[in-house]
Each structure stands twice: as structure tokens, then as C-alpha cells.
Amino acid sequence: MKTKIIKLSLIIIWLLLISCFVEYGTPEFPAGIVEGYKPVYLTGAEAEIKWKSPQPLDKPGKIYVFQNYLLVNERLKGVHVYNNTNPGEPISIGFLQVAGCTDMAIQGDVLYVNHIADLVALKINNFQSFAELSRIQQKDWINQFPEETDVYFECVDPSKGTVVGWELVTLHNPTCYR
């Protein structure tokens, strides 16, 4: 009886450990259809910070509340700005195009955002226009690989442009893994 329990315990432990390591340690190729990361490339026209007309929400990321405004990050693309004076009816007032943007914060009348690999300060002028105040490069903000490890990803093709970030998608036979 006792040895049975020991054996059973060992088998359970073994299975648990195997389930961990097999899943995350050794990739299998061809991978087939799997969840993984795809590089998001920057094209020339999207590189500059630009205040545009309202855009539909697609992949909302972080949200940020400032006074009566609601800011919604469009992952790796920019920032939607809503007048949220009446939370029952937020009004879209524009879209700030910021390639690679995932984070934003406001102090006073200055918006700080990550733009590609830079930390940029922008004067917000009541969300009428934006003026760049400073730009500081952050060397490790852009990864040529997904931040996560033990994941499949689509290999980077430099001919497609600069990688500004990674999105989680369903991949068909990815050939990169880390």
C-alpha cells in the first residue's frame, strides 16, 4: 500500500514536471498551427507622431484617465483621446499616431509616450495639437525578439522595416522559437 502511494506520487510528480518542460523547454518543428508572436513593422508613413481624426478602436491596450479625458492606447499604433465629461457618452476627439506606443502618462500639460525606442514628451495644448518637447532614446525598449520566452514567433524579416513590437496571434508553422 505504502509503496503504491510512493509510486503514484512519483508518477504524478514526473508527469507534472514533464508537462512543464515538454511544453516550454523543447520546441517541435514543424510547429503546425500554434499561438505565437508576430513582429509589427513600422513603415515610413507611420513613423512620425501625428494628431489625426478619430479612428475606430481595434486593439485597445492601456487606459488612462486625465481630468475629463479618457486616453486609450491602441496597441503599437497610438492613443485614442475621448472627452469623457459624461461617462455615459464618451466623445472621440482624435487619434494620436505614435508607432510602437504601449504606455502613456500625463503630468501637467505634457504627455509622455514611448515612441518606437524613445521616451517622448509632448505638449498637449488641450488636445488641439501636439508639440514635441524632448526625445530620449531607451536602448532596450525595442526587442528584436518577443519579451516572452518559451514561445514560437515569426522570424524577423528586416526588408519589411523596423520592428516596433510584437503581437500575439495564431501562427502557421513558425520557424523561430525562444
Partner: protein
């Protein structure tokens, strides 16, 4: 009989250790966030934290300090090497909290240009959104990525003595993501399991006030009774009153 129980205990311990081991080799892709003060809010995968006079950034190796000039432009004034990869940073009342893969580092930034390390609080996992209210920190741990279900946790930590944070309790919650605290209400996003509201008036014994199903909740900002919730389908705004969640507007995504 006794050895029998001991063996069972040992087996149980092994399973727990395996789970922890498994969690250690699992990476996270959380993007929850939490409430900040006055100027707005920060996020759990935040790249930087702002204060009235400084902006702090983290990358794979260092904590950087930038001073804000009167016009809001930035100038680098300090750099601190970090000995572990920090994934998130947020600011709360003269402190910055850096979340790494296995600990939260708390720095005093009273002297803005020279952050002083106060303590390091060891976690099981890293990708954990944290919110702070007075002397309490609330953190969620999500281990479901490891496929060992049932060990997703909410932890309450007393941070009154910042050099010696103390755990006050652990609560099982399904697939927790971002969270927010307002008054005595703690709002915890549970992905496909909706939103759960805890009463935190007794931090040693949280009680569930209400559960709200039927939508995907990833992140939440709470401002008194008003909630802004993000999820797979977009952004919902609610009023929370009398244990009821009343939807007042929706911004749909992916149209």
C-alpha cells in the same frame, strides 16, 4: 498511519514545488494596470512612471531618472543598475514599485533624483498587477498559463513598514488580471470570468461583495463609484452602487 500521512504531505509538497517550478519557467503577457493619483494612472507593464518633477524609466538593466524642466521636457540625471530584469514600474506617494520576475522592489523617491531601495518583496511570479491603498498592497498572481488550474491568487500585503512587507492573506481567484481599489472596494478583473468585487475594510479577511459575469475584463480604473473596464470587446463604463454594476456606455473594439 502517521508515515502514510507524512508521505501524502510530502507528495503534496512535491506537487506544490513542481507547480512553483513550473510557474518559474512560464512567462507572462499580462498587461493589466492600476490606479495612480492626481495626474492619472500607471500600468503593470508600464515602461515609465511620472511624478511632478521626475520621470522614471526601466529597461532590461537599469532604472533611469529624468528631471522635468518647467516646460515638461526631460533631462537624464541618474541611472541605477538593476540586478534583475524589471518588467513594470509604478509610482505611489513618493515611492516607486518595480516589478521583476520574482520580486517587487520598493524605492523611496522622496529625494527624486536619488531613489533609495527600501525593500524587496519576493513573489512567486512577476507579471502581477499591484495596486496600493494607504498601507496595503494588493497583487494578483496568475498561474493558469501553466495549465495547473486552481492556483490563481490574490495576495494582500501590509506595506506599512516598507522595509518589511508582510503578507496578510492569500485568496483563490480565477484568472486574475488588472485590479483597482477605491474606498473599501477592490475590483479584480477575471478575464472571461468577469469582475469580482471584494470588501477590503478588514484587510486580514477580505469578503466577496459581488461577482459580475457576462463580459471579458482585463483591466479596470476605479474612481469612486465609476469604473472603466477594458476587455476583449472594448471599453465599458459602469457605475457600481449597492453591489450592482450598471453599464452606462461602451466603446466597442475590433469593428
Amino acid at each position: 498511519m502517521r508515515t502514510h500521512i507524512n508521505r501524502k504531505l510530502r507528495a503534496g509538497l512535491f506537487i506544490v514545488l513542481s507547480a512553483i517550478l513550473c510557474s518559474c519557467i512560464t512567462s507572462c503577457s499580462d498587461d493589466g494596470s492600476e490606479i495612480g493619483q492626481a495626474s492619472g494612472k500607471a500600468g503593470s507593464m508600464a515602461r515609465f512612471a511620472t511624478t511632478p518633477n521626475y520621470v522614471y524609466t526601466v529597461d532590461n538593466q537599469s532604472l533611469y531618472v529624468y528631471q522635468r524642466a518647467s516646460d515638461g521636457s526631460l533631462q537624464k540625471v541618474n541611472e541605477r543598475k538593476l540586478f534583475t530584469q524589471v518588467e513594470t514600474i509604478f509610482y505611489y506617494e513618493e515611492k516607486i514599485f518595480l516589478g521583476s520576475r520574482n520580486a517587487v522592489f520598493i524605492y523611496d523617491v522622496n529625494n527624486g533624483a536619488n531613489p533609495v531601495l527600501l525593500s524587496e518583496y519576493k513573489h512567486i511570479l512577476s507579471c502581477d498587477p499591484v495596486v496600493v491603498k494607504d498601507t496595503l498592497a494588493f497583487a494578483t498572481f496568475r498561474l493558469s498559463d501553466c495549465r495547473l488550474q486552481g492556483i490563481d491568487l490574490l495576495e494582500v500585503i501590509n506595506i506599512k513598514d516598507l522595509q518589511n512587507p508582510v503578507s496578510l492573506g492569500l485568496y483563490a481567484v480565477p484568472t486574475p488580471y488588472g485590479l483597482a481599489v477605491s474606498d473599501n472596494n477592490l475590483f479584480v478583473c477575471l478575464g472571461n470570468n468577469g469582475l469580482r468585487v471584494f470588501d477590503v475594510s478588514n484587510p486580514r479577511n477580505l469578503s466577496i461583495k459581488s461577482n459580475h459575469l457576462g463580459f471579458h475584463a482585463y483591466d479596470v480604473i476605479a474612481n469612486n463609484d465609476k469604473l472603466i473596464i477594458t476587455g476583449n470587446t472594448g471599453i465599458q463604463q459602469h457605475v457600481y452602487a449597492n453591489n450592482q454594476l450598471n453599464l452606462i456606455s461602451t466603446l466597442s473594439s475590433g469593428l
